[in-house]
Amino acid sequence: MSTTKQNTEKISLIAWTLMLASANKQLDMPGEYLWNIPDANTFKEVRDKSRSVYSSGNSIKDNTVTDFIQNVNFNKFMQDPHISAKFEDYFPMWIKQCLRYNLKGIDEFKYVCYAQGSQEYFLNYYFANKDKRFRIFKGEYWWHMEVWQSMNIQWAYIEDDDIQTNDVVLCSFPFALTGKKHVGFDSMIAQCNKLGVEVMVDFIYLPNCTQDIVYIDLDHECIKGLSFSFSKTFPVQNAKVAVRMTRNRLNDPMQISNDENVANRLGCGLGLEIMQNFDVDYMVKKYHKEQMHWCNVLGLHATDVVHFAVGEPYTQYGRSENMNWFSEYNEQYNRYNLGPLFENKALLSTLKLYN
């Protein structure tokens, strides 16, 4: 863990500079979401967007990958009725190729299904468990709570009540807010095993894990489903490429669509191309040193996820004031997404902000 004092002034100056550069079209790698692209070079626009430069969990927009995607022939996927099956066959092999992963028991998750983003899996999970109460740790992906609230679905934070027999649990691994395994993960699993409560593990940030050994015991009977997404690892987040792996074959809307052969072939094809050309931990290999560099320069603490660091908020806006971004459940007060720093290394070097 870094012992350097946090350089909040530099963090802030970089945020302002990146957003101003975005308005001036000077970024090495432009943003992809309206909430971090200033409409114009005005103080107000740049200020508003500078407050969310390090927010979100989005992937690193690595230029090698973005250039590769530019040259992918998507038309051929449309003509390939086997593309989703190819994608589903390839995924487990690809994920197991990483020698640092010890996903004990993953072979028991034999049923692989393309998902149009993790959100499609989540929605199917909600639907399948609509009469149960969903449980989640505080700081989990806000989208769950936002959907549950708007759909009048029962839910409660794990911290607020014991797990009961009518509950189902979702948990990201590593945990979305901190980039590390949640401190309550093991006890939650033990409790779910004891009560026969089903757990879905969301591996959204797994490919960006930096540990020498990424270990998780999936033999626990309570863990019924695994969610993987490409969206936080590769810059394909708007293509909705994700995978569900389950112990048992499900027959829910997502599976029925895949069985009908109407899965999104563009998403499947893109995912397959990515897998065939990049290692699952490509970003870790390329950016782990950069993560350490920036944590040292800015006085932040590296997490186990290569594009995340944690530290004190550099602005109170969206943290302790005007909370929270987009959703009242979107908590990310002290998490920093370092992706914009990695992506704009050339610009930041030129401006002498890199060191």
């Binding site: 100056l13 302002w16 500079t17 550069a21």
Partner: protein, 162 residues
Amino acid sequence: MSTIKLKFKNINSVNNKAPQMAVHVNSKELYKGLVLEQHVIDVDLQEQNILKIYFINKEDPDTVIQDGKIVNDLNFELENITLDKHDIQDLIWKGQYVSKDNVIPSCLFFGPRGYFELHFEYPILKWILKTNHEDHNDDPTWEQDYNYYIEACQLLNKIQKK
């Protein structure tokens, strides 16, 4: 060199006589002539500045009254001021209209002969942020954020010039 952009509306003539104005900044005349919908004027600004817009050709006969009501009048309204690309928005109401011995605060209407007067500071953006915060007490980080913005501008300007 800075620029002042003035926008006017409801420019009313009387008997083929159109309103005319003189624009002064810090007592220096920068424009004299007809009031058009928009004027863009170059100016050298100082730390403290006074903009004055004189209504120079209004005479008593330019107000036509019938049965006790004004039926025709030579007048115009100031709509908007942009200083160095910064629309000062509500701060335009900081101005006042001075006519003979009358001072009408927050008046953008040029009816009687007189002048509109606005005091402002340079840099413009800093003045806007500071004044808005003084008025509403809702932007405590304005100065810190202003400094970041200016520093970022200076950094990026360097590479633009290369």
